[in-house]
Symmetry: D2
Amino acid sequence: MTAISAAVIPAPHQPIELREFPEPVLEQDSALLRVEYSELCGTDLHLHHGRLAGVPYPLIPGHVTVGRIEKLRGAMRDVLGQPFAEGDRVTFLDVHRTCNACWYCLVAKASTRCPQRKVYGITYGAADGLCGGWSQKVYLKPGTRCLRLDGVAPELFMAGGCALPTALHAVERANLRLGETVLVLGSGPVGLSAVGFARLAGAGQVLCIGAPDERLRVATAMGADDVLNLSKLEFAARFQWVAERTAGRGADVTIEATGVPAAVVEAMRSTRDAGRVVVVGQYTDAGEVPFNPHADLNRKHLDVLGCWGSDFSHFYRGIEILKTAAGRQMWSAVPMQHFGLGQLNEALAELAAGRTIKALVVPET
Amino acid sequence: MTAISAAVIPAPHQPIELREFPEPVLEQDSALLRVEYSELCGTDLHLHHGRLAGVPYPLIPGHVTVGRIEKLRGAMRDVLGQPFAEGDRVTFLDVHRTCNACWYCLVAKASTRCPQRKVYGITYGAADGLCGGWSQKVYLKPGTRCLRLDGVAPELFMAGGCALPTALHAVERANLRLGETVLVLGSGPVGLSAVGFARLAGAGQVLCIGAPDERLRVATAMGADDVLNLSKLEFAARFQWVAERTAGRGADVTIEATGVPAAVVEAMRSTRDAGRVVVVGQYTDAGEVPFNPHADLNRKHLDVLGCWGSDFSHFYRGIEILKTAAGRQMWSAVPMQHFGLGQLNEALAELAAGRTIKALVVPET
Amino acid sequence: MTAISAAVIPAPHQPIELREFPEPVLEQDSALLRVEYSELCGTDLHLHHGRLAGVPYPLIPGHVTVGRIEKLRGAMRDVLGQPFAEGDRVTFLDVHRTCNACWYCLVAKASTRCPQRKVYGITYGAADGLCGGWSQKVYLKPGTRCLRLDGVAPELFMAGGCALPTALHAVERANLRLGETVLVLGSGPVGLSAVGFARLAGAGQVLCIGAPDERLRVATAMGADDVLNLSKLEFAARFQWVAERTAGRGADVTIEATGVPAAVVEAMRSTRDAGRVVVVGQYTDAGEVPFNPHADLNRKHLDVLGCWGSDFSHFYRGIEILKTAAGRQMWSAVPMQHFGLGQLNEALAELAAGRTIKALVVPET
Amino acid sequence: MTAISAAVIPAPHQPIELREFPEPVLEQDSALLRVEYSELCGTDLHLHHGRLAGVPYPLIPGHVTVGRIEKLRGAMRDVLGQPFAEGDRVTFLDVHRTCNACWYCLVAKASTRCPQRKVYGITYGAADGLCGGWSQKVYLKPGTRCLRLDGVAPELFMAGGCALPTALHAVERANLRLGETVLVLGSGPVGLSAVGFARLAGAGQVLCIGAPDERLRVATAMGADDVLNLSKLEFAARFQWVAERTAGRGADVTIEATGVPAAVVEAMRSTRDAGRVVVVGQYTDAGEVPFNPHADLNRKHLDVLGCWGSDFSHFYRGIEILKTAAGRQMWSAVPMQHFGLGQLNEALAELAAGRTIKALVVPET
């Protein structure tokens, strides 16, 4: 039994280290996954900067991962009841242990707010075992929700990555009607996937405001009709741009995917009266922002909808979308850079500098 | 043809004056209403202080009114197609001329945001005719939506007044589920009616935070299980009070009906994760307030829903509710003070001082 | 360790027998409940007649039960995470093992259609252990969802019984708006609870068509404004009765709770255009019925909504409703007859003859 | 002032005749449209066979029409408030006079069930004026809702025709979620447009069952992943085909667009538990069909949704969709045959024989 290498954030702000872990003893109905690809995304940058509460450092990051089942003890089944076998290529929902037993799961039916919820690569630490994808192998605990990747290339799935279910959830919350105009604020992975899903969900027009130009070109490839680089403009000019494309009204739906508090207020102001705003980009606490409850919310008769996390349905249906011709074409447009386990400090730096859109972790490189 | 007396706000901050108007010449399919009761509410205070934009002073206020049809030219019909006759006791929807021809009416189906919308007693001025209820008579223009008050005492209808459709609209937006806990912030007329409708819509528990104690006693009579006087407490203590009644979670639904910007943020913080907040109290611009988009909205997976105005359906169904035993009992609990047309400066002062909850204007006093 | 007596349906159409069972060995995180009350309802009549598929006779019926925890091994917790203790008075959701792992649970979020779903007293047979309430004791398997009955008298809870969550689910599906007219077809337990919930959910008017008069008197006590005995009338006369109360339109919402196929078509015909019909009474296969897709459905722009089973949220919120003054008053109106374990053949006969509305099984009688 | 030629159905089953009409005197705010294209669709076949109630023969059919404004008296405006001018190319909503004053319009907000509703080419007869598109000119009465066809070729708009808003309405009722499987029953114009909108609204998979093969080829071109010719198969085999593509469950959403009563029941049986069925094809009364309320509806926890007509929002947003690249491509796939005013008996025969999918009426041919 050989040791398993994994990349670890020892503590906030400390360099990532390669560490070796023993192969875990499998519990009943669990498995060991040999990682083909994992992801390095903005959340990992937040984790490296210690911006998320309740993270049990040291941590093996990597919350979206694809690989093959190397060992299986007992039975694991997909949602159709079909058993998995060693050798199967799978991915799995990073969210684990939503309990189906608490008030949030059973009464509110809001499993993304279940207090027992644990997330691979984020709230499971290295002390919990091989629970992150920046590793040669990942331990799939009993109850992990796996999904076969039949008919979807693993690279295509990773092009969506964690943004895929997140953005699908956001677009679903928007309750889009055929022919409406959707404005996406932000052109990071979630914003780009939101552009794709808005297009796929029947928008008549998809607008995207973000930066830099390279990402906006991806937004265009994923279905945006028009894009605007925000870096050179004030809000008034940005609103003017939206207004010109919406008969002066603002968008029917705005999806905020930026991480900047002021963007939430900009989303409200960029949306037409009686429209909908989905706020999905405020993943970490970046402070307060002033807004005007009369003019920005009440008089506008606006729906402002927070959107937290995702559940298995978003994950499953996101992959169904990748099986369609349009979905395949859209997410193929996302450029990806590959990094080995030993290159992840560099990868974080690239991401922080905005020089990479999607960094893939490839342990076998 | 005798002159008609009406009370007029000549301009913001100027004392109300009694003025005389000639009896209008009726257009085809219009009517003249002899007023039995009209209303003096918080909106009229705003009007007197000039806090609403686009008001064409001088103004005859009074947007909710009951009376009898004194003269009718041509035909006016109710929604069942039944013609009205002289002598019928009716009320009418203060909102007029939502056009059923613009983008907001026809595509967005958001008639409360129709740009052509005009409101009796607010955006129709004295120059438009007898278009406010603080008058012996009101001119019912062609197309005014009238409703018979059969089976509902006019005093009971006035106890609801303009708050009735507004609060019904707010509770409807909340999409309440049977057995949920509703928190109402504010104990003015809209807050009190929201308490009643939340109870009627199947809340398991209705909480109300407001002031002064006299209004909270009315809240209790209208169905609140528990009330809290906000005047002596900080937010932390108020939240503690809500938390104790909701297993620490906050309310399932919070309805903001206060007019104070900070109350909107308090509403968000007082609501459980994945709950709903309806903002109905920010009728005038009282400035900005800071909030935290991460902690107050996104991570909470909250729905924050602005609620503007009301349409005929809220008006109609509000009156249907007054016909039920429970509705009759609830709104009978609202204390009312009567004022003649010559006493309205005094009435405004009473209202401003919080000494009256519901001031009725009785022209024939 | 003394033997435990339970009443058993050996096979369809055979008389109920008292049998003795050994006390079960408790698995980890399971419990033994000493039964105070269980229920005998229409489902049990169906079970006795063999009308339900997939029932593993011999069977201990009784799917809704209240009692005290007599023995507890390991930990069982309520939805707030509070541990239960021996001596606690609890009830439990009859539905067990909805798996939270299959396509219906995770993707469709339709747990009442989960193929792994098992129901105490219906699809668990005597071979599965003490899994029905017609017994001195019930075995609460690991994962059973229990709920404390604090603040609700057990007799009141039983007055609702299995009809409580079922009817709440049906009324919730109806998406009732404040002031609408609800027509309930059927005055059995589900129909009566639907009358109560429709009233509580804000109906302006609740109508009930059923039989016999005794049950209709209960419907009135539970909130029906008007009731009609169907036994003496043809459909045309029944529709006329509804039409007279709805300006000729039919009800806004009709809830079918009869078990008779023709009633589903009557529900469609008794509902106004663009209204909603909830079908909750077709629990067993009673054959086909003809309808006219043009006139009964498409031209009417109707929503016809099947409603199957219930989940924990309906159970939980139903009990929240029983804690309110109005809920307590309504379900107190349901007359109940008590039967010991040895009297259940007689109880079935009473129910079949329509001489009892709600039969309680009281093992300690 | 020259005479205007129009094609008229004198009475059911009688040959279409060309008749001459005087040019109408324009009322204030009305217009005269010179017709470029009108439509001959299945509804016209029904009209010719007298299958619709309340049709005031003699009739100028043609309910969807494009042309140029030849004369305008007073002002007509689009939904943005922009005035139309002579020479503008427009289309108009065939539905006229939904009153915005009755219970259905104002309380139920179900304008497609407004009793005052009149439809050009169907319920306006020749006695009402030039109110059908099978004419050189159409009289646009005051209040007709016109829409500029900027950016959409008139031929493309006619390829959608009346099926465009109808199918959009049906797909909107289905409340489709991203990645779901949609089954369309029927491959007439409504079925084909439903295929297109289901694809555009984010279906993961679109299936279509219809006939003949030529239409199914169009379905494929409009976005169907798989099609089945129903003519050679029994229901069991058809269901088997659906089941194989849906893991045995049936479709998430089925849209019935056939006109055959039995297809409604087939739709229910072809849909997975807790799925949705939209019934849009039962435009005329083709008699009754038996179904099983237990097995087909209640146990399946199904939503069965009738869908009648369409309103301006469907019309407007359908045209927004035609402006998108995907929309343009889809509806370009619909083959059209042109017929002059004198060839319409022949055109009806072609349509009745299934030899044409979409027949355009071109008065200037």
